[in-house]
Amino acid sequence: MTVPIISLEGAAPALIWTDVGAVTDIPLRGARRLPSPRGDIAVFRTGDNRVFALLDSCPHKGGPLSQGIVHAASVTCPLHGRVIDLATGDGMGADKGRGCAPVVPLDVREGRLLIGLVEA
């Protein structure tokens, strides 16, 4: 099982920001996989050029969300089709509130993608 890199609950931990590439390295309506010490991260880019990062693991059965089809600000998991809200990691529709893919801190500066990881 992958362990969340950060927890959204409680005090915000100090983050180390790492440049992991350009926004344009991710296809529009697509995603890339980003290996990390705590498991893979999925970095998404929507059709209207927004970016999101979630742990690459569907709350349903751990499917790799980075391999799903991205539509509006959501992704459909390739294994069993659960639709995940990219902004919250939560399921959508009937799957809302049935588990979350943890959100990974992501920032964009001058077209570069910065991922924030908790300090060791």
């Binding site: 992991v20 890339r32 980003l34 290996p35 391999q67 089809i69 991205v70 539509h71 060791a120």
Partner: protein
């Protein structure tokens, strides 16, 4: 009183027609003399292409023979080129012949434009204007010889077609990207290109001619700017015409591009009128026959003082290439403030586009079925408002007139039995009502199954439903429509498929815009469906949207529960070799692939491959000669075979060979859902063909072709579709089935489900006509030209490399 003297310069279509118009009005007014540069009587220049093609002889295209000249007291000087008009002395001078005149008709026509290319003076470089040109081409047209025609306009295409009919390999080289761009829009031009290929004429578009190359003073080829050379034994320049004005200019008449005439067709000299391609009227020159006939009527009026006048002509065009029905008129390409009504029937190769502006017909282009061209042209010229006939306008005059002013049911009742209801399948009202009455049909689907009516594009569905209503009264309830494709749209799959074709929607954004999608970029259900519909509708043209592919089709492997992938190389017909098996074993060792399994489709599955390893795994499999098995796609999967006559003592035919032949032709094709084939060499059916999407059972007398089997979620035996005698017929028929399925089924609809929806009888009907089968086969073959590529090899070569690499490895060793 002596008669006035009328001298006509030009013995062509315009000159003689003008004379006829004069004679019609006042046969006794003039003594008439005609000079013609060609040594022959008046013939129909438009029909030169059929003469070139060998479909007609010269005597077939003579308009006025010697008796016409004799009966009307006309003196003909054929082969006498006029050298001067002496306007002071009022004498027309030819070689050794002087003719005094009171009035003159100038009808010299036009000269073909010769491009000033290097080598244009070589032997074998000709233009296409008169019978002599045609004869020169025919002389060169030995079967197997090659012709290049520069110019993809009306004349160039006709010349190339004629030469192809004479057994030559003809190629049209055209500067523009659209054939006949002055008459056709891009869609019709595309269809024309295809139709020409079927008639042995290749087209090279967007091609700049640079030099005509030759050997010993004789043409051998045409070199293009991009460096390519088109070899040829004859080169025809058909790039356009120029009004023949030299004589008029020398005589001091006013000349711009053509000889300037007023609305009475009178030149700057009131004794001289001009007509045809040599004139310029209100700034316009004409090269088509209809306006020239209008001009000739005016010349008749002017020369007999009958008033009248010429105000210019609206233009329409018909192409005379046999079997290709093309019509265009007016603003056929649309434009700002215009609306389009478009109808396409891929099955018949029909494309119709009516352009509306301010509620009136402003133009039309018709391809494949131009029967209503004249009607649209009349509507356009008369400027009649069409608001009340708009809904049926595209179906043509017969349907529209039948319905005008009536309420819909009464209108349908009033239609004659011979009225065509279903244009796609040519089904008349009487056939439908007859089938309803005699076979007790009560549903739309039943009518579709029995008659094919409304089974293709579906646009006549309301008409068919009204007929059912008329026949059955309250006994008929129109079916409630099928469910929407997904939550992004209210439209069902069938509607979306039709709209993509009918409205020429060639990208996902275009389709979503036109069909009013309620989401910005669709969802995981509609995007793959739309992407497939585009691939099917616009083969070779549409660029696959990889972001709209399900992961398996995006990375060409099957995702597994742990995010690894499985890899299944193709084994043609289930046959393999020791070398292939060794390569598979080596790959499994090299990449530590944890599981190797034999599949139900007679191949080998490598399970647990890491995504990043896929290109390297494929490279090794490619190196051993293996390609993608598409085990991951809505595509052709396997063709399972038994060993047939090769080994089996019961085999009746070479089932393995047929299976391999089919798989090698069908592989790479994208389909609405997966397609599995089986070929069994005898009715013992060891290849289990009768639970496949398409199954072939070989028997002593031929091949039974079955469809609609399934052995998964549902268990279904196949239904017998047809039986054919030869392997080649079996091959063609299977390809035709795959194509009709590709064109008609809804995304994710397996053949058995599609068959349940449209009916086996409807599918039989689609394939009944050999011409339809051939057309389906050809469309499939066309699509396969750009599909039958190994996606693995493309990715080994670096395509979409980022797909198989992580975004970054910088975090891997970051603080943990």
């Amino acid at each position: 009183m002596s008669r006035e003297r009328l001298v006509v310069i030009g013995n062509g279509m315009a000159g003689c027609r003008a004379v006829q118009e004069v004679l019609k009005r006042d046969p006794d007014r003039y003594d008439i003399t005609i000079f013609g540069a060609e040594p022959r009587v008046n013939y129909d220049r438009i029909m030169l292409s059929p003469v070139l093609a060998g479909e007609k002889s010269f005597s077939d295209i003579v308009i006025n023979g010697h008796d016409w000249y004799r009966d009307n007291g006309i003196v003909l000087h054929a082969g006498a080129a006029v050298t001067a008009i002496d306007r002071d002395a009022r004498i027309v001078r030819a070689d050794g012949i002087d003719a005094a005149y009171d009035r003159v008709i100038l009808a010299m026509g036009s000269d073909p434009i010769r491009l000033p290319l290097p080598g244009a003076d070589l032997n074998g470089v000709v233009t296409f204007r008169d019978l002599d040109d045609g004869e020169q081409m025919v002389a060169a047209a030995k079967p197997g010889a090659r012709a290049v025609v520069i110019g993809g306009g009306l004349l160039g295409i006709e010349a190339a077609y004629g030469l192809a009919r004479r057994g030559m390999a003809a190629t049209v080289v055209h500067l523009m990207d659209v054939l006949m761009e002055r008459q056709l829009d891009a869609s019709a031009s595309f269809l024309l290109g295809d139709a020409l290929v079927a008639r042995g004429v290749e087209t090279v578009l967007g091609a700049h001619s640079e030099e005509i190359v030759g050997d010993n003073g004789r043409v051998t080829g045409l070199r293009l700017k991009d460096g390519r050379t088109q070899p040829c034994d004859i080169l025809v320049m058909a790039v356009g015409i120029r009004p023949a004005t030299a004589l008029a200019k020398a005589a001091g008449l006013e000349v711009n591009r053509g000889i300037v005439v007023d609305d009475a067709m009178t030149t700057s000299d009131p004794r001289i009128v001009a007509v045809g391609e040599c004139v310029e009227h209100r700034g316009q020159c004409y090269g088509l026959v209809a306006p020239i006939w209008d001009m000739c009527r005016t010349v008749g009026d002017t020369l007999t003082d009958s008033g009248g006048g010429y105000r210019g002509s609206a233009l329409s065009t018909r192409l005379k290439v046999s079997g290709v029905d093309v019509f265009s008129a007016g603003k056929f390409g649309g434009g700002e403030g215009c609306e389009d009504i478009v109808f396409r029937d891929a099955g018949r190769g029909v494309y119709k586009r009516i352009v509306l502006e301010n509620g009136k017909v402003a133009g039309a282009v018709l391809f494949g079925d131009a029967a209503d061209g004249a009607w649209y042209f009349d509507l356009m010229r008369s400027g009649a408002p069409i608001a009340d006939i708009r809904e049926t306008l595209i179906f043509g005059q017969a349907i529209t007139e039948g319905l005008r002013g009536l309420d819909p049911s009464a209108a349908v009742a009033a239609m004659p039995d011979g009225a065509e209801i279903c244009g796609c399948n040519g089904v008349c009202k009487g056939v439908i009502t007859g089938a309803i009455a005699t076979q007790g049909l009560t549903t739309l689907d039943a009518v579709r199954g029995v008659t094919k009516a409304s089974a293709s594009c579906g646009s006549c569905t309301p008409l068919v439903e009204k007929l059912l209503g008329l026949m059955l009264g309250d006994g008929f309830k129109a079916a409630t429509g099928p469910a929407p494709m997904c939550k992004c749209t209210t439209h069902d799959h069938g509607h979306v498929r039709r709209a993509i074709v009918a409205e020429a929607l060639k990208s996902l954004p275009a389709a979503m815009q036109a069909l009013e999608w309620s989401t910005p970029d669709g969802c995981a259900s509609c995007r793959p469906a739309l992407n497939y519909y585009m691939i099917c509708a616009w083969p070779g043209e549409y660029r696959d949207d990889k972001q709209s592919r399900f992961i398996n089709e995006r990375v060409h492997a099957n995702i597994q529960k742990d995010g690894t992938y499985s890899v299944v190389p193709r084994m043609w017909g289930g046959m393999t070799t020791p070398d292939e098996l060794r390569a598979i074993a080596d790959v499994a060792d090299k990449f530590a692939i944890p599981a190797v399994k034999v599949t139900g489709g007679q191949r080998i599955d490598l399970l647990g491959v890491k995504k990043d390893d896929l290109p390297a795994v494929w490279a090794d499999l490619n190196a051993a000669g293996m390609v993608s098995g598409h085990a991951y796609g809505k595509a052709l999967r396997t063709v399972k075979t038994c060993v047939g006559t090769d080994w089996c003592r019961f085999g009746t035919q070479d089932s393995t060979g047929l299976g391999i032949r089919l798989e090698k032709f069908l592989w790479g094709s994208w389909t609405p859902a997966k397609v599995k084939l089986g070929v069994s060499g005898c009715p013992r059916n060891c290849a289990e063909a009768t639970c496949k999407d398409i199954g072939i059972i070989c028997v002593d007398s031929g091949y039974e072709i079955h469809i609609g089997g399934a052995a998964g979620l549902h268990i279904r035996g196949t239904e017998l579709l047809t039986k054919v005698a030869t392997e080649t017929e079996a091959f063609w028929t299977v390809c035709a089935i795959v194509q009709i399925y590709r064109e008609q089924a809804w995304y994710l609809e397996r053949i058995y489900k599609w068959m349940d929806r449209v009916g086996l009888e409807a599918i039989k009907a689609f394939l009944a006509d050999p011409d339809d089968r051939k057309a389906l086969f050809e469309r499939f073959a066309f699509s396969q030209r750009t599909s039958r590529l190994d996606p693995w090899a493309e990715r080994v070569a670096g395509r979409h490399a980022e797909e198989f690499q992580p975004l970054s490895r910088r975090l891997e060793f970051a603080p943990a």
